[in-house]
């Protein structure tokens, strides 16, 4: 059986995580779409730490006989891996977007340069409409 103190500590940790994430969302320092995985992490860990019988049962299924809290660590690690993977995909997309933006800026600047050179060569005599 899981020692009570571990359950309490884990529950406090999970609640703290959830509160911090909610506070970050409230202060607009974290977008909801990136917060969902963290909230799920906090909730699952909270359930696993409070529902002591459940933790034991899951430990039994997985053949963890000696130390049920190992399931807590395993769940936490799984979620951290999921969050990290998610971030890698976000980073990759940001990198692609960044390249696209840089190319677009460079191409636009080349067009502006060309237009300005044209303008300098034959200055417009009439003011442009618009």
């Amino acid at each position: 059986m899981t020692p009570v103190r571990i359950s309490i500590a884990a529950a406090i940790g999970s609640v703290l995580l959830i509160l911090i994430v909610l506070e970050l969302i409230r202060g607009r320092r974290l977008k909801e779409r990136y917060a969902l995985l963290w909230l799920a992490t906090g909730l699952v860990l909270l359930v696993l730490s409070l529902w002591r019988g459940g933790l034991n049962t899951i430990a039994g299924w997985l053949g963890v006989s000696g130390y049920p809290p190992a399931i807590l660590f395993a769940a936490a690690i799984m979620f951290v891996i999921a969050v990290l993977l998610h971030y890698s995909t976000v980073l990759s997309r940001l990198t692609d977007d960044n390249v696209l933006l840089a190319q677009e800026v460079a191409l636009l600047r080349a067009r502006v340069d060309a237009l300005e050179r044209e303008e300098a060569r034959e200055p417009a005599t009439e003011p442009r409409a618009g």
Binding site: V99, L100, A102, Q103, V105, A106, L107, R109, A110, D113, A114
Partner: protein, 241 residues
């Protein structure tokens, strides 16, 4: 009507070579427009390229060779060129060899023509490490494409409109030529190689050092297999971008 041709020249800190490269192309054929893609150089590359008569597209920061080359192809697409030829900014590609690259395109026999250094025994002998890498990828790509490809690392290429459109939308990042070859074949574009001579680098050193060539070797091999596993696409109408 003769096709409108643009020379795409990616350059990163090539102030010692770029002027001569641009002048060389313009001297060879004044009808060919030259666009130099300055990949965030800190030196006078852009200035000297413009002085030599090139249009300069300056990337605001260094994106790496693949994205720089792609910028050039996007320029070619935007400006509606019929043919784009790519020459490196370090002067290793001879403008005098351009007709060899352009002929198969003009005859409509290929969508992309690559200048290969290894089609026949030429004078170019790269150092052992590079030669191994080049051979490895040539064999691998030949196998994947069921076509004899001898030089997958050559940046000396001529492209027609469909190929420009493909590369403008999708071009691999670092050490891009190998993956680009497979990309072409997956999109059912026809690739032809012609034998060319290349000059030894005039200045600077190759961007590929030994350790990084090992890293690229592994990365590009992985990318090749992942690329093959991707859903094969039909030319130009699919996926946004």
């Amino acid at each position: 009507m003769t096709p409108r041709v643009v020379a795409v020249v990616p350059a990163y800190e090539e102030e010692d070579a770029i002027g001569a490269v641009v002048a060389g192309i313009r001297e060879f054929d004044p009808e060919i427009d030259v666009v130099v893609v300055d990949d965030g150089s800190g030196d006078r590359t852009a200035e000297l390229a413009a002085a030599a008569g090139a249009t300069v597209v300056r990337l605001p920061f260094n994106l790496g060779i693949g994205a720089a080359v792609q910028t050039g192809f996007r320029y070619a697409l935007e400006q509606d060129y019929d043919v784009a030829v790519r020459l490196d900014g370090d002067g290793q590609h001879e403008p005098g060899e351009l007709p060899k690259l352009l002929e198969p395109l003009e005859r409509g026999e290929a969508d992309v023509v690559t200048g290969s250094r290894f089609r026949e025994a030429g004078s170019y002998r790269p150092p052992l490490g590079r030669r191994l890498g080049i051979t490895w990828f040539a064999k691998l790509v030949s196998l994947l494409s069921r076509q004899r490809v001898t030089d997958t690392t050559s940046g000396f290429q001529a492209l027609n409109r469909p190929a420009i459109a493909l590369f403008a939308r999708d071009y691999p990042s670092d050490y891009p030529e190998v993956e680009a070859t497979v990309l072409l074949l997956k999109h059912r574009l026809r690739l032809t190689e012609v034998q060319v001579e290349m000059r030894e680098r005039e200045t600077g050193s190759s961007s590929i050092t030994f350790l990084s060539s090992l890293y690229y070797g592994i990365k590009v091999t992985l990318a090749l297999f992942v690329g093959m596993a991707r859903r094969s696409a039909v030319p130009t109408e699919e996926a946004p971008r």
